[in-house]
């Protein structure tokens, strides 16, 4: 079993689809998954945003998000994003936790597969 760690530092389709496509594939196979949204990626985790993101030929992003959550994948937003992107805690969608970089780094110290988008 792999442990997959993915960081996301942009909130465009190019940044947000790959972590959920690869991440949902990983949890489907039984791998552990941690996705960490840096401030640049955090706006994508604001309530209602991924519902509006779509791309030609791409899967449904909301279904991938929910699949990742249902199969035990963890999704985090960096706490620095709150001030950096003028977000409130309650703006972040349900199922996503706000944590600090140290906690994330501690959690992924034994990751075997890493990506950044």
């Amino acid at each position: 079993m792999a442990k997959v760690a993915i960081t996301v530092n942009g909130s465009e389709n190019l940044n947000v689809f790959p972590p959920f496509i690869l991440g949902s594939s990983a949890v489907s196979l039984g791998d552990e998954l941690v996705i960490f949204f840096c401030p640049g990626g955090a706006p994508a985790m604001v309530k209602g945003v991924i519902e509006k993101m779509e791309g030609k030929g791409l899967p449904n992003l909301l279904e991938l998000f929910e699949g990742v959550r249902n199969l035990g994948g963890k999704i985090y937003v960096c706490e620095l994003a709150l001030e950096a992107k003028d977000l409130k805690k309650e703006d972040i969608r349900d199922g996503v936790e706000i944590i600090g970089a140290t906690t994330f780094m501690d959690e992924v110290k034994d990751a075997t597969v890493t990506f950044s988008f």
Partner: protein, 74 residues
């Protein structure tokens, strides 16, 4: 032994496999899951999924229109 069917036609990779993985806890050992899908990568993906999760891929056939039918025994 029960047989369940999953219609994943029209879904893009990796949604068909995600749906299989999400349904998996509802199936008991010996049960069969029949999946139909038309995304290009499905035959290879379902083979990899079955191997990794210890299930038996009984078959995965593709018809002339590119529609895949697979049966997985749990």
């Amino acid at each position: 032994m029960a047989t369940q069917t999953l219609d994943a036609l029209g879904l893009k990779c990796p949604q068909p496999i995600l749906k299989v993985a999400t349904m998996a806890p509802q199936l008991n050992p010996g049960d069969i899951l029949e999946v139909i899908a038309d995304c290009e990568s499905f035959p290879k993906d379902i083979k990899a999924w079955a191997e990794r999760t210890g299930k038996t891929l009984l078959f995965c056939n593709t018809d002339a229109e590119g529609k895949h039918s697979a049966q997985i025994q749990f």
